[in-house]
Amino acid sequence: MTQAQTASPELRQAIIDYLATRLTNGSNFELHNIQRIAVGWSHETWLFDVRYSEDDKSQELGLCLRRDPGNALLRHLSDLEEQFRVLECLDRTELATPKAYWFERDENILGAPFLVMEKVTGSCPNPWGREGRAFYQAAAERGTLPNSFTTTLATLHTLDWRAAGLDFLDVPAPGTGFAQREIDKWRNLIESADYAPQPILTDLICWLETNIPPTDRLTLVHGAYRTGNLLIEDDRVNAVLDWELQVIGDPMYDVAYVLSDLNREGTSLLSNLVERDEFIRDYEAATGFTIDFETCRYYNALYAMRSVAFWMSAAGLYANGRSDDIRLARTAWSVPVVLERAATELGF
């Protein structure tokens, strides 16, 4: 769900005052085209252009500011400083990502911690809307973007994450360490939601713990790689966005997400964009990895657990008064829908 809002005069001035402390050779700062883009339920995201003078020349810089509103879904699992560090590290790789400029924890500046990064050109059509689906369908027919989608994921999975400095992301132990850590993370979120006991969820978690696939191949994993989290320009992926769920782990975790039915609607195209056989062929060719479909089936079940954790957490934010957003109240009815899917994943 996307909606544009304008910034208050106070926020505009606070941003200008801040930028003046960072672009110290500049003067006469002005903000243009400022709008808040609310995609999903995570941090506030503001896009704007800053115009200023430097050495008697007019300069313009497109910026994206993400601010922590203090009550966002998954807030404690999605730290802005970590996002900033990840983007800094990825800037040293060939993966297309926005350049990270500054992170500030001081709430006195803009009322909440925030990061500032490059406003990358391109569009990010919502794959759940009619227009977005039409956009991806047309791009699929032209044929260039599907390959860019796949090869960008391959780049993400084959980059040297240790050399890039991403080992601060808590590297799991080889074997079952990655999946066990994910299970523990989502179980903690479920427990903190203080929801009524759900027998299918108990069955699912027990099954997941009993059937963990071992993996010795560890890569950077995006955690939500799909259309809607990719900035598109000229039929290619211009930037990978939404660095909130990334981990070091099994690349099949991302592959399972791409292959799942979760991210497409009314089409057989993966992520509303890519033919399944084409994705498998191009991904395997670009990475040298063989897709393990049994492991992907396991991760699909793990995604069901993650979804339940999301929806329980979201519904809890509304129920306990930490958010007034009725979209969050609505998610209480998403819990049984996902549990039904989980039952199907488990074979009953």
């Binding site: 909606q3 108990t202 069955d203 957003d325």
Partner: protein, 137 residues
């Protein structure tokens, strides 16, 4: 007018009259989403009595089947204890405890017995979740 019908009527007013009259994007979305919530609540409320009865009947049958199975073929004490707690409490918390006991004693139960007990329990859970999806989906 029943409570469910009242909620449904309010939802329709929100969706057809209040929402379209709101210009600002965010409150408009909130109005439509409130209509969705009220419609789901209405449906849940309308089905609640029948679902409660059916879920209770299913759980009773499950507990009877577990009791018979445990007598026919002995199980580890943790599983037997979980079965007794389920028979006493007859609620989802005890059903979760029963499932955890099954998985924890999977090796001792053996694959065939474990699959039989879990499969029987899953039949009850499937019927329950199908009822929930009637109003949640």
């Amino acid at each position: 007018m029943t409570e469910a019908e009242l909620l449904d009527r309010i939802a329709k007013t929100l969706k057809q009259e209040i929402g379209p009259a709101v210009d600002s994007e965010y409150p408009k979305t909130q109005a439509f989403m409130a209509a969705v919530v009220l419609q789901k609540l209405s449906r849940q409320l309308a089905l609640a009595s029948g679902h409660r009865q059916a879920n209770g009947d299913d759980l009773n049958l499950l507990i009877d089947d577990i009791a018979e199975s445990v007598i026919t073929k002995p199980v580890p004490e943790e599983v037997a204890s979980a079965a007794r707690q389920l028979a006493e409490a007859r609620d989802d918390n005890a059903l979760c405890g029963w499932l955890e006991a099954l998985y924890a004693n999977r090796a001792a139960l053996g694959a065939v017995h474990f699959d039989a007990l879990l499969g029987r329990t899953r039949t009850t859970m499937r019927a329950n979740i199908d009822r929930q999806v009637e109003y949640a989906g």
